[in-house]
Every structure is written in C-alpha cells, then in structure tokens.
Amino acid sequence: MLSVLIAVPLVGAFAVYFLPRELSKVLAIGFSLVTLVIAIVVAFRYKVDGGMQLTETHDWMKQFGVHYALGVDGLGLLMVLLAAVLVPIVLIAEWPALDDPTGGGPKVYAAWALALEAFSLAVFCATDVFLFYVVFEATLIPAYFLVGSFGRPGRGRAALKFLLFQLAGGLILLAAVVGLYVASARAGTPTYLISDLAKIHIDTVTERWLFVGFFTAFAIKAPLFPVHTWLADTTEKATPGTSVLLVCVLDKIGTFGMLRFCLGLFPDASRWATPVVVALALISIVYGALLAIGQDDMLRLIGLTSLSHFGLITLGIFAFSSQGGSGAILYMINHGIGTALLFLTAGYLHRRRGTLSIRELSGQERLTPVLAGLFLVGGLATLGLPGLSTFVSEFLVLLSGFQYHWFVGAIAITAVVLAAIYVLWLYQRTFTGPASPVLEADPVASRDLGVREIAAVVPLVVGLLLFGFVPQPLLNVANPMISDLMSHVGVRDPGPTVAGATGSTNDGGGN
C-alpha cells in the first residue's frame, strides 16, 4: 500500500518526462491526484490507536542490516496527507508559470515536483533509519533543480547555498546514522530498523553525540537559528510553488525527524539537550519575526515568518508535554496550509504586477479584491487568528511553553504580537491605499483571480476554517502517537514531571 503510494508519483515523474510536452501538465496533475486518492485510502485504512501500521518490511542490503521498511503512525499519516494535498494544489496554482521556458518548461518542473513528492512521502513512511537517510538526501536533488532552474534571477546561487546547507546537514546525519549502527552492533544486534533501535541501550555519552548529529541535521532542515540563512534566499529566488514544496512539505522533515528520531531514539539525550534547544527555538521565534518585519520582498518575508513558526514547532516538541507534542504536530499541518496559501497568493500577485517589492506595491485591494481577500486569510492564519486552524496549534504550543517555564512562555508569546505586526503591516502597505490610474487601466494588473486560481487555493481556505473549528480529527490522529512518544521519553503528565526533570520551580496550576 505505502509502496504504491510512493511509486505512483515516481512513475509519474518518469512518465511526464518522457511523454510529449503537451501532456505534461495534465499528466502531472493526474498522477498527483491519484497519489492523493491513495493517501486518502491509506487514511481510511488507518486505525487511530494502532501504533505503526500498514507496515512492509523487506531486506534491502541484508549484509548491512538494511531494510526496505515502511509504515505510518499518526504523525507520518498527517505528513503524508499534507504532502499529497499540497502537490496537486501547487501544480494547479502554478499552471501558467510552468510554461516559463527558461528552466525547461512544464515537463521538467512537473517531473521534478513529482519526484520530490515521491521522495518526501518515502521519508514520512520510512521506518528504517538507513532508508530514511537515503530518501532524506534524495529529496535534495529534485529540490536543487527546482530552485536552480525556475524562479527569479540569482536562483543558481540560491540553489547552491540551499544544497550546500542541506548536504552539510545530511553528511552530519550520515555520521550519526553510522554511529547509531555501530552502537547497535556493540549492543549485539546490528540493525537499522527503528523499532529495534528504540529498544537498545546506548551509553550516555554516545547517545548525546548521536543526538547532536541528528538534531543538527534536522535543525538545518527545519530550519532553526543559527542555521537558517539559506531559507530566505531560497524562498526569494525560487518560484512560489517551489517554496511551498520546500517550506510546507520538505522542511517538515526537520521537525518530523526531531519527533521520530531525536525523541524516539534518544529520549535521555533529548531531555539533556532541552535547555539549549528551547533557547534556540526562542531565538528563532523572535529573531525570525523581527527579520520578517524588516523585509522588502514579500517572498523573503513569508520565508522568514516560517523561521519563527518552526521555532514554535520545535518549542512544542521539546516542551515534553502532550499538549506541546500534539500542538507541534497540528502546527506542522496548519503552518503547511497557511503558508502555502500565502506563498501561492503572493505568486498570483507577482504574475500581475511583475514585482514583489513591498515599497513598489500599493492599492492592490481595489484592483483585485478576491486575491486580496485570500491573501488576507492566509495572513490571518499566519498570525493565529481564533477561528482559523493555526490558532488551536499556536495556543497548545504556547500553553506547553508556559508549562515548561513561565519565562519561556512569555518570550514565545511575543511571536503573536510580532506576527500581527508583520502580517498586518504587510497587508496595509501592499493591498490597501490608493491604486494608481495607470494600474487600473492595465489589464494584467487589474485582472482578478480566475476560476483555476481560486479553485487551487480554496481547499487551503476550507482546511484552515474547518480545522479551526473542528480540530478534533487531527488531534485524534496525533494524540495516540504523542502519548506513546511521551511515555517512551518518560514523561507521564506534563506539569510535575517536567518540573522535576528540569529542576525548575514551575507551578503547573499557575498558568
């Protein structure tokens, strides 16, 4: 089942590449929709309390203890669905942009996008560390070509920077993966299966080193301060569609990995590292938001808001409470949906005005009210307006922050204020205000969204509203996984246990 899920977009990538150019777009969307259908079937076959499910395990390199092993738990399932939903949306929204001949046209873009989808799905389904590592690295190749071939001038440089950062993280991860294997061999059973690795005992020093290796790689991926510098450059130069794939799908691997590997395999070391990680997360939250406020390019700005959001997700993960964990998982979904909406609508705007420099834009609201409205929904989702799904997750994460320590919560909550500033100020500067008569006469700039453009982003808006009012389905899927993880990490009930572990004077009831 999961193999089929991964194989369909991969086959699609080859089909799109080798079949005639005229068919490319239709084929690509067809394949991505089939993938979505399979993902939905997977979701229906998934049992909420069943742990790791739909598993497939085959020997891959028997001599080295490597398996081709797939499976989904609650976290994996949600990530799979997110990726499967976003890819067709991106392809539909980027329909005209795909025709840009400079990078090789729709054929190349769609083929790489499908390849990226296939590898990302494999990442979320892999239950063998080696397989995970292989597909983790393999995602970089389509991503590199997507960034490097399509987008704005200077993209080649941005793509190189992106790739070097990611590969550096990947190689550090390689060292840690090799170390993990050796540690398992010392324990008597050389293996890469996560289920086996979670059982073995690793001595404290080794465990901490391995944790550092894994965490560094995921921090670069996510990204977290201070290894975030590739993010803004990449989102600025790449097409908005590519940015959606990178930030909303690919970067989730970072936080996904923290949950699955850092907490799942190195629970003691994770607790040991918590103060540092929380500090980095807080810096990312505030610093990312401040940077975002100062940006002039909209895509760069949206990219940097993600730095702030990934800081919050990381905070939720490392707060070690069930609220924090569930909130983080929810946040990963909601951030994916909300940021995708922002990126895509910004892309629409770029197609109309030819620029995304904030100081050159003004008054777009009068020209294209529907576009403005959709952008505003995305913006409000980003700042966590109650009623939109991001509110729920942000609330849960902030709550866990306060449970961890009031000080941490207090710093994290500034994100809400700062988010209001960057979103509303951005909206005010670009969409409100008078529109120049020249623009009103311009047929391109004043054309509001077409049916296709609206259809592409409507599912995102629906998702934001639906999960804003009824987050229960997502929580139902996420909670069992988180409670399993928390019991594995050794945290039973959020307040008192964490207080004991960190030695702080936290009072759970005071918040």
Partner: protein
C-alpha cells in the same frame, strides 16, 4: 643438494597467464603485420584476451576450494606457485574488477571517431613535438598500435600485484604494471609536451618510490627472515629481535604503496599525470592502478603485518586525514576538469584508507557485521566505475584544440547536450556520495567500518571533507546546467563510436545499480571471504 620440481597451479593462475600470453601475442602482431593493418587485429586480440580472462576468473572464483590456514581460520582459495601467488576470494574479486575496468579502458583506447579517424595516441611518439616529422606522421594518419600490448602488460601486472604472496613478487608486479603506464602516459596525440612531461614526472617519482619499496622489503626480510607474508606474520607475532628494523621496513614499504595509490604526501604526481596523459589512459589508470594497489596494500597490512596493527594504524589515520583534506580543498581551486578529477581521486584515496584502517578482526565486530575488507572493495568498485565513466565523458567534450578540459568550455553544456551533462553530473554526484548512487554505498561502507574500529576522528574529518568536496562537485553541476557559455568558448560534444558510448553506459548502469540495489554485489564481496593468511 635437493632440488624440488616446482609445481604450478595452472588452472588457478590461468587468468594472469592468459593476459600475459595475450600481451606477448600482441608483440608478435606488432612484429609480423604491416603497419597499416595492425589495428583491427590488435583491438580484437586485446578485447578477446580480456574477456576470456574475465570468464576464466569467474570460473576460478566459482571453483575456489576451502583452505584452512595454520591459525585455523578458513578462507577460500589456495596458495600457489610455491607461495608466491595467493588466489583467494578477495584476489578473484579484484581480478574481476580489474578486468572489467581494463575492458572499458581498451574500448576507450580503440576509440577513433573523436579525433576524426585516428586514435587519441601520438602518431609517432619518437617525433619531436612541433617538427616536420610529427606533421608528416599525422598527415599519414599513423598511430601506435603498441598501446594494446602495453595495456595488456599493465593489466597483467595489476592482476599479479594484489595476488602476490611475498614481497619480491609484489615488487615485480609493481614494476610490471608501472613501466607500461609510464610509457602510455607520454603518448598523447595533442598537447604532447604536457604529456611527455607527465610521463617523465611519473617515471622519476615512480622509480624513486619503487626504490623505497625495495629497500623496505629488504629491511623487513632482515627482521623476519622471510619474504612471504605468512612468514612475516609469524615473525611479527612471535616478536623477533630488531623491532626498529621492522618499523623502518613498514614505513618504506608504505611509501612505495601510498605513492601508487596517490595518498598525501605522495600525491604530487597525480594532477600532472592525470592531466597530461591521454584521457583514455587516465581513465584506465585512475581506476585500475588504484584497485590493484589497494589490493596489494590490503594484503600487505592485513596478512603480512596484521600483528603490527598498532604500528601502522596511526600512520594511516594521519595519511587518510591529510589526503581527504588536501584533495578536497585543493580541488576547489582547479579550473581544469581533469585536474579536478585528479584531486578528487586524491581525496577518494583518503576515504579508501579510512576503510583500510577500519575494523577487520572478528573480535571487533558483532555477528552479522561486515569487515573493513568488504568496505574497501565496495568503495573501489563504486570509485572505479564513476572514474572511468567520468573520464570517458571528458573525451567527448571538444573544441578545435582537442579535448576541452577547461571549466569555461563546459559552461552551459546541460543546454547543448543534456545527456552528456546529465551523465557527467551523475558521476559527480556518485563521487560526492549522494544516496542512490554507488558512491554513497561505498562511502557509507567505509565510514561504518572505520567507526566500528573507534576511528571516529577520521570519520569526522571524512564528513567535513565530504562537505567541502560536495561544494566543488555541485559547483560543476551548476556550471553545466545553470551557467551560460561565453561566445566562442563553448566546447561541443562529438558523437563517439559504440566503443566509448558502451563504456559510458555500462559505467552509468553500474553506478546506478550499485546505488539502488547493491545486494548482488555485496553478496559477491561478502561471499569472497577473507584473505588467506
């Protein structure tokens, strides 16, 4: 005086005998056939000999018997030719690998379409560059068909090198493989001065390093009283007197072997020779020499000097670290693709040494874990295929001056010929160790065995230098795909004949298969077992 009649295991030694016999036949062809009609028989003979040798190697490999050595450890194979040749599992695997690479090399040697109907070798090597004789030779379309027997002799030496059972045989093999290569390096048709300089440099430095090796062999003999590796091993384990003699001997032997594999600080010849030699020779040499020399290195250290592990392991740590760092860092500054590949080969040597110093003995390994021998052999396989493939592609990109090896000529190649650029990018990605390529499996295998031996500092350096290496590989990919050529600076791709294209396709397929489904090759390597001690 007693005289025992030597008994030779002809059946097991046959692959080597076939190659050497083929080389002698090639010389007869040179002597008996008129100049114009030698090429076709030579090419056919060479390829035929190599293929037959390969088939015979497989036959030998299938029929290897169990052999139990004095220490009671069992491996497959036999000690033949009165102890001077050891045909065991690793030997047979290396033989197979070498012969495959040699077939690829021979195919590249025979390529004629790229130079407009002549081979890439000098028309008349004796004619001075720039003289009327040279012009005359190229007007007549002369070519040296001696390169084919030379290739066969080199291959023969390479086969013997990792199979040698004592230091003297190893030395002889070293010379047999080196001398034809020195000659081949100087035979380029274009840029002949560069080529001759390369040959001269390679010869002088190579001769020195052979001297070191011989001196080391003498010292070790002085210590152990035996030339055979088993004899040395026994002496080392029993702890003979004059330990200083042994240490000096190990050092000198290492100089000789590390020179051949191009490890720092003996790497100075690599870029010049790789650049100056005809690219077909570079392709063959970069893969073949490294495989053979690492085979010999492994045998020397694992069989002969296993008991002295604590003496040579720290040395290899340092050499490996230096090779990886220097190779990766200096490669960044290169502007010539052949030189870049040469420096990358230096850093690959470092990675291979990382495997050599890995965990090898049973006591260091958990049940089901493979030893470092497997890691090194897998890495060699991956490395050889991507190097031959990459150099074969270098021969295709040309301008009016011959091969266009300068970076500027490759700019924008991805737009002009996506297939060639894509294949080259794939080989580079394999060298960089990106997953789903052969290079990744190799890198990961050697890292694991080094880590198991507790050599984590070396692995950390390896990771760091991999990051540096990724930079220059990816920069080249970017150059090919995302840059535009300056007008008049663009090298074009010449359509090769089936010889070169088959080589490239086979290398591509091997690199991809070993990356995605390494199972069969791993089975083969693990099944080859250990050295006979």
């Amino acid at each position: 005086m007693q005289f025992t009649q030597p008994h030779l295991e002809y059946a097991q030694l046959a692959p080597m005998l076939i190659v050497f016999g083929g080389a002698c036949l090639g010389i007869l062809v040179e002597a008996l056939l008129p100049r114009g009609s030698r090429r076709v028989p030579q090419v056919v003979l060479t390829l035929l000999v190599l293929v037959v040798a390969l088939v015979d190697t497989i036959v030998v490999g299938v029929h290897l018997d169990k052999h139990t050595d004095t220490a009671g450890q069992s491996a497959r194979g036999l000690v033949g030719a009165l102890g001077s040749v050891v045909v065991d599992g690793p030997t047979v695997y290396i033989w197979g690998l070498l012969l495959v690479f040699a077939i690829g090399g021979a195919a590249l040697f025979a390529e004629r379409r790229l130079e407009g109907g002549v081979s890439g070798f000098a028309g008349q090597a004796a004619a001075l560059p720039g003289t009327s004789e040279e012009a005359e030779a190229s007007r007549l379309g002369l070519e040296h068909t001696e390169v084919y027997p030379l290739l066969l002799f080199a291959v023969g030496g390479m086969l013997l090198f990792p199979a040698s059972g004592d230091l003297l045989t190893m030395f002889v093999a070293l010379e047999v493989l080196s001398l034809p290569l020195y000659l081949l390096c100087g035979l380029a048709r274009r840029r002949r001065l560069l080529s001759q300089e390369a040959a001269m440099k390679y010869f002088l430095l190579g001769a020195f390093s052979s001297g070191f090796f011989l001196y080391g062999a003498a010292l070790v003999y002085g210590y152990a009283g035996s030339m055979t590796f088993t004899g040395i091993n026994t002496a080392v384990r029993n702890g003979a007197a004059n330990h200083g003699l042994l240490l000096a001997g190990i050092g000198l032997l290492s100089v000789g072997l590390l020179f051949k594999v191009g490890a720092v600080p003996f790497q100075a010849w690599t870029p010049d020779v790789y650049q100056g030699a005809p690219t077909a020779v570079t392709a063959f040499m970069s893969a073949g020499t490294k495989v053979a020399a690492f085979g010999a290195l492994l045998r020397l250290f694992y069989v002969g000097l296993d008991g002295e592990r604590w003496s040579w392991q720290p040395m290899l740590w340092i050499v490996a670290i230096l090779s990886m760092i220097l190779g990766a860092v200096v490669a960044i500054a290169q502007t010539d693709v052949k030189r870049m590949l040469a420096y990358s080969s230096v850093s690959h040597t470092g990675f291979l040494l990382t495997g050599v110093l890995g965990a090898q003995s049973v006591t260091e390994l958990a049940h089901g874990q493979y030893n470092s021998l497997v890691g090194v052999l897998v890495y060699l396989t991956a490395y050889g295929f991507s190097m031959i493939g990459a150099f074969a592609l270098v021969t295709l990109v040309r301008d009016e001056g011959g091969e266009a090896t300068s970076f500027t000529k490759w700019a924008g190649l991805g737009k002009r010929s996506p297939l060639v650029a894509g294949a080259f990018a794939f080989f580079l990605l394999s060298m960089a160790g990106i997953p789903l390529t052969a290079g990744f499996v190799g890198k990961w295998a050697v890292f694991t065995s080094a880590m198991s031996a507790g050599a984590w500092p070396v692995v950390v350096v390896a990771i760091a230098s991999s990051i540096v290496a990724v930079f220059f590989y990816i920069r080249y990919v970017r150059l090919m795909f995302f840059s535009d050529a300056k007008p008049g600076e663009d090298g074009t791709v010449t359509m090769p004949s089936v010889l070169t294209s088959t080589t490239v396709v086979v290398c591509l397929a091997a690199t991809l298969l070993l990356g995605v489904v390494p199972g069969p090759i791993l089975n083969l390597v693990v099944g080859a077992g250990d050295f006979i001690r």
